[in-house]
């Protein structure tokens, strides 16, 4: 997609949106129920950015242009992660915890979109396969490549967690140690308070 010229990419997007309106009518009717919003979608590994409009009117997806109005919210992440979210194949909170996606702006807009997308069982490859015309072939090839990449992201996330977090038992040991330390600190604080009280009484008696 890096080398796809913007006009050609916009044409492919238009065809895909038309196809999806046909195959997922409830998705578009549910998007129309949301408050009007403009979301900027920023695939971090693409030169393109996209503008998604929905709520109280037709839903549209277009390439971002300099003259686009300021968006209500932005979502940023690798294209594979964004496509996995679109298809409901990966948990968005997990991507949020791991910082694989970033959101800024009006969080309610993003949450509404996420939940509305998650209501729909979308298979982008099926929709693209159903596309006809001169863009069907290249688009199918592109999604096939992305699908392979998408398989890798789950494995990568699992590896990241394995590497960055100790095994459960170790973590529970750490928790246990933390709890013991807290108790110890609390006991010392109590002893200190008693000691200080006793010291004040002694000083008062001496006066």
């Amino acid at each position: 997609m890096r080398i796809v010229p913007a006009p050609l990419l916009q044409r492919m997007i238009d065809l895909l949106m038309r196809r999806m309106r046909h195959s997922h009518p409830s998705l578009f009717s549910n998007l129309a129920l949301l408050d009007s919003a403009v979301i900027c979608v920023k695939p971090s590994d693409l030169p393109h950015q996209f503008v998604l409009r929905f709520g109280q009117g037709p839903t549209s997806l277009s390439l971002a242009k300099p003259q686009n109005p300021v968006s209500d919210a932005c979502i940023k992440g690798k294209l594979e992660a964004l496509l996995n979210l679109l298809e409901g194949r990966i948990d968005s909170d997990m991507l949020f915890f791991s910082r694989d996606i970033e959101i800024t702006g009006d969080t309610a807009v993003i949450v509404g979109l996420r939940n509305t997308l998650d209501r729909e069982e979308i298979n982008l490859l099926d929709d693209i396969t159903a596309m006809s015309g001169p863009f069907g072939g290249p688009a199918r090839k592109m999604v096939s490549i992305l699908n392979n990449a998408a398989q890798r992201i789950n494995q990568r996330l699992a590896n990241i967690y394995e590497e960055s977090h100790p095994p459960s038992a170790d973590w529970q040991n750490v928790q246990h140690e933390r709890d013991e330390l807290r108790n110890e600190v609390q006991a010392l604080k109590t002893r200190l308070a008693k000691f200080e009280t006793r010291q004040k009484r002694t000083e008062a008696a001496a006066q």
């Binding site: 990966i90 909170d93 791991s98 910082r99 969080t107 309610a108 509404g112 939940n115 699992a158 960055s164």
Partner: protein
């Protein structure tokens, strides 16, 4: 399908999640209407009446059950939405309603006496006197226990009340004062207990600042995450606050509850059902967590003495897991 070991009660924020939960092996699914009558009132989430009827029919056709959570507290003088929700759950053929408010419990008892009633965790009933009050006055058949009890506490409570219990097996850990927590109300002016949203998305803001991410609830800065540091939910109880010049998690660290390794002990305590939390999570989460617990329960029902290592850490908040109060009691 009803488990011979422990009933697996699973979340569904959308019809797609309901289907995912059932496919993954849920015995029972719980969900709510698309309004303030349930404690997960977030944009785009939950079921309208038609979806609820279809969801119940889908579950029943596969031998599963559906519980409807109507577990927020009516605003003074505005009980109608809660009454309508109880009526709609009964009309949809729900197997039970999960209630918290005594007025709503009274309404359901009087108008739908045959509709089974469960006591929501939002009622924070954690001792025999409280539970027996609800049992004796509203004939509740099951109580969802707050996450403040040790396994020994749970066993003693079951012994004393003789009532079905449902305990949390996977989800979050916080101050665990559901139905009585005012932290979010204090920061947003919106009550989780009557509006159904703790840390409502409309008041949450994330800002990027040189690779760091900052989260805010209303005007209050909740947290700042360094580049690549795992993020936490933007709830007040998971905020990292500065006291004595040091930022720390004063209430609770971002960590997830996972009881999968102590299922035999929970069974031995007399627990009836396990609750998976996460109606606001995606259907991918539902499929992964429910599938993992289904396998564990089936293994145990088949005679295994323990479950195989699970791989749920990546979907737990903060990527860390704890047994919560089950092993050590509450602080």
């Amino acid at each position: 399908m009803t488990s011979s070991y422990l009933e697996l009660v699973c979340p569904a924020g959308t019809p797609a999640a309901l289907r995912a939960a059932i496919t993954a092996g849920a015995d029972t699914v719980y969900c709510g209407f698309r309004d303030c009558t349930n404690a997960r009132n977030y944009p785009g989430l939950n079921f309208d009446r038609k979806e609820m009827i279809e969801g119940v029919a889908y579950a029943h056709a596969r031998g599963r059950q559906v519980l409807v959570a109507i577990n927020t507290f009516p605003r003074a003088g505005d009980e109608e939405p809660w009454h309508r929700a109880v009526d709609a759950a009964a009309e949809a053929g729900a197997d039970a309603v999960i209630l918290a408010d005594i007025g709503v419990l009274d309404y359901a008892t009087r108008h739908h006496p045959k509709l089974r009633r469960h006591l929501s965790v939002q009622a924070s009933a954690a001792n025999p006197m409280s539970i027996m009050f609800y049992r004796d006055n509203f004939d509740i058949k099951r109580v969802v226990l707050p996450r403040v009890l040790s396994i020994e506490d749970v066993a003693a409570l079951i012994e004393q009340t003789g009532i079905e219990t449902e305990v949390f097996a996977f989800g979050s850990v916080g101050p665990m004062s559901e139905g009585r927590c005012f932290l979010s109300s204090y920061m947003t002016g919106i009550s989780p207990t009557s509006e159904g949203a703790c840390a409502p998305a409309s008041h949450v803001v994330y800002k990027e600042d040189g690779g760091c991410m900052k989260s805010y609830l209303g005007n209050v800065a909740l947290n700042e995450f360094a580049k690549d540091e795992p993020a936490a939910y933007p709830t007040p109880c998971k905020g990292r606050y500065v006291t004595h010049d040091r930022a720390s998690y004063l209430f609770e660290e971002p960590i997830g509850l996972n009881a999968i390794d102590i299922l035999p002990q929970l069974k031995a305590a007399g627990v009836t059902a396990l609750k998976i939390e996460g109606r606001q999570r995606s259907r991918a989460y539902v499929a992964q967590v429910v599938g993992t617990f289904r396998k564990a329960l089936d293994d145990l029902a088949g005679g295994a003495v323990s479950v195989a290592a699970n791989d749920l850490k990546s979907v737990a908040e903060g990527g860390h897991e704890t047994f919560g109060a089950y092993k050590t009691g509450w602080r």
